[in-house]
Symmetry: C2
Subunit: 435 residues, 2 copies
């Protein structure tokens, strides 16, 4: 038993809205020093290319590379990592990759077109990006599952070339990460990281090809660099700490819920785990399970800090109110650990991923359920989506007017263009008006 001091709230308390706001408040660090370092790194990589990459990598990752050739891994090296994997791990990784690919196949958009009565064609052409970059963190947060989750949607989208960057501080390589890269069909891997890797992908160097979009998680330097290069290339969302919100009717084994909360909390001290339940007695049971199970956890120090600084057990009036509060939170992960999750689903408006029913542990979604584990954090599910195939496809509008259509619409365009004092627009349209 370890005593764990977790915030308790009730939706009936008069200051609940303020308490909830305070609980959720999260400001990503906007540090002038970090900005300056990142700006310098980007400037150097743009100016000195490979040499800057080699210098920074030797400096920050304590390497002794002479040239970029030493900082690229061959496809044979990746294949060897996959080949040498213990059979059980390889089978699990392959099972996960298959399910993730199958789910993502459903996300592919197709081109479409329609023809109007006068013969005018309108449509939308959907094409994959040519080349994308995937950032994979080194060190303790090096996750093979992230390689699959970032690379496979690009592969399904039909992206021609996938470039991965992964720092190897002190030369330490993660074999599982390389195996996942081989399995996901990553084309080239450079053992570089930090803002220098982001800059290389965004602007290209002699060795590292410029990509169209950069995805994948990273530390504050990586996030700051991604924000800085946004526009020159596309980026995915800049992720905050991971979160889980569990709505429980009080009938799930409290040990299960405690462990589900732990599974977010173990990511890092800033991760956030929240439980909503209409049964106060059940909240106490989960509290007891937490205190019972915590001493058995390998990452108990991280979990304890996370739970004591960021978690909350919240008493709600009923499940309808829980859904309402969930929409306010717009959680990254939402577990509906209730008897009838289908009944609750229509009330859920904002969430990255929704895990329905007592058997659907959030952890399954992290690895092998099929949907992506890269999800909008910090309430951004209000306006953004899981990483998906759509992030690696783009659309072009198609317009082909018949002479009759151009004539009729030319009249409309002419009036509107003249209303905006854009005479060249008007005359360009008017040329196509038939006599």
């Amino acid at each position: 038993m370890t005593q764990v001091s977790i915030k308790r709230l009730s939706s009936s308390q008069s200051d609940f809205a303020q308490q909830l706001d305070a609980l959720l408040a999260w400001e990503s660090v906007s540090d002038k020093r970090v900005n300056q370092v990142v700006e310098d790194v980007i400037t150097q990589v743009k100016a000195r290319g490979d040499q800057a990459l080699v210098d920074y990598t030797n400096q920050f990752d304590r390497m002794q590379a002479q040239s970029m050739a030493e900082l690229e891994l061959s496809t044979e090296r990746l294949a060897k990592a996959l080949h040498d994997l213990p059979a059980e791990q390889r089978a699990a990784l392959e099972a996960a990759a298959t399910r993730v690919s199958q789910y993502h196949e459903r996300q592919k958009s197709d081109s479409w077109r329609y023809v109007e009565a006068d013969g005018t064609h309108l449509g939308q052409q959907v094409t994959p990006m040519d080349r994308v970059g995937i950032y994979v963190p080194g060190g303790k947060a090096a996750y093979p599952s992230s390689v699959l989750m970032n690379a496979l949607p690009a592969k399904v989208a039909g992206v021609n070339e996938i470039i991965m960057v992964v720092p190897t501080p002190d030369g330490v390589v993660n074999e599982l990460v390389l195996a996942a890269a081989a399995l996901a069909g990553v084309d080239r891997v450079f053992t570089i990281g930090g803002a220098q890797a982001v800059a290389a992908l965004a602007y290209g160097t002699e060795t590292v090809p410029k990509v169209d979009k950069i995805v994948g998680p990273g530390n504050i330097y990586v996030a700051t660099a991604k924000r800085a290069v946004f526009g020159a290339v596309g980026i995915d969302m800049i992720a905050g700490p991971s979160e889980i919100l569990v709505i429980c009717d009080g009938k799930t084994n409290p040990d299960w819920i405690a462990m589900d909360l732990f599974s977010q909390a173990e990511h890092d001290e800033d991760a956030q785990s929240i439980l909503l339940c209409p049964d106060e007695h059940y909240l106490n049971e989960v509290q007891s399970s937490i205190e019972k199970l915590l001493p058995t956890m390998e990452r108990q120090a991280i979990i304890k800090t996370s739970l004591e600084t960021r978690a909350a057990l919240i008493l709600v009036a009923d499940l309808a109110e829980a859904a309402h509060i969930s929409n306010r939170i717009a959680p990254e992960h939402l577990e509906l650990s209730v008897e009838d999750p289908e009944a609750l689903l229509p009330s859920i408006r904002h969430a990255g991923a929704i895990f329905m029913g007592r058997y659907t542990a959030e952890a399954l979604g992290d690895y092998c359920a099929g949907p992506n584990h890269v999800l909008p954090t910090s309430g951004t599910a209000r306006f953004s989506s899981p990483l998906g195939v759509y992030d690696f496809q783009k659309r072009s509008s198609l317009i082909m007017f018949s002479p009759e259509g151009a004539s009729e619409m030319g009249k409309v365009a002419s009036i509107l263009a003249r209303g905006e004092s854009l005479t060249a627009h008007a005359r360009s349209a008017e040329y196509r008006i038939l006599d």
Copy 2:
């Protein structure tokens, strides 16, 4: 006749790639002073809310407002603007709105779900955003067509509330813009602009509600503010100067092509107009048309500066090479002014909008063809798309495991989680393994 000095290039010249790179080079201004002003404005609006908005608006737009109540336009005021419009303009605006809505209806994504053999459900729930903000510039760049193009996709997506901000410097209101807002179903309009309007939409004030996403064009202060609030809210792409690329086989009336080039050039001095043609004689004809027509244009000073600093007439070997160069450019607007545009289309990989055939003037797409006129600029069509309904919808993954499915996948997740040393993840999954 006005002599116009336009750059001439040929794809056969040895330094063509470098010349093309130089022509396309565009760096958006990253001015430390602008950044500082924007940072201050955002800080003030977050701290002082309405009062900061009123102060900045009085200062920057030379207004004398006492409170935010004076800086909101009633729906009656918008309806009156629409009602008072000349019949011809109203009909044109309505025709455009109808076509834009019809096209965008085809972009709506639907939720989907599938059931696996063991009873596990996987799917994707698609929902609209709750509330979005539309920035509409005041002054010379106040375009009613932009109101339609930004508001209607949100409306089609099912967004519950659309908030528009439009500065009215010196109190000057654009009736066409208000009419377009009424027609598009904008819910509330505030006569504020600049970084202060962006900050208000991103963080909310006593009067201006916080939105989920901000779209719409603006000056460097607006663009800088959008970049700064990105993450707290969603934003659309930050637009560079407008561009057109025309691929012509040399058989279109050269006056038409000259006017199509003008229609981009008249936007502003930085706009870019490029023509690719395999017929040198035709390039000379277009040059003559340009010199003949320029003196007849209202915005001839802007057009001349734009053409002389940013345009190019480029001789290519053939249409296949033109398509190749077009993919390098990834233009915002691409006209395929050729006999058989369908034959050329499969070679086009990157473009915001593709205008096919001699009759399809780009200007039609700006107003009433149906597709959106908010398009990726400066080569960003490599990784981004026209503004669309998809920009106002977001997705949530759905996962509902059957007990059997959870048991099988729990085994896979357990192996992978332990490979990542995430024991709580593993144990959370293992609890659901059936005996």
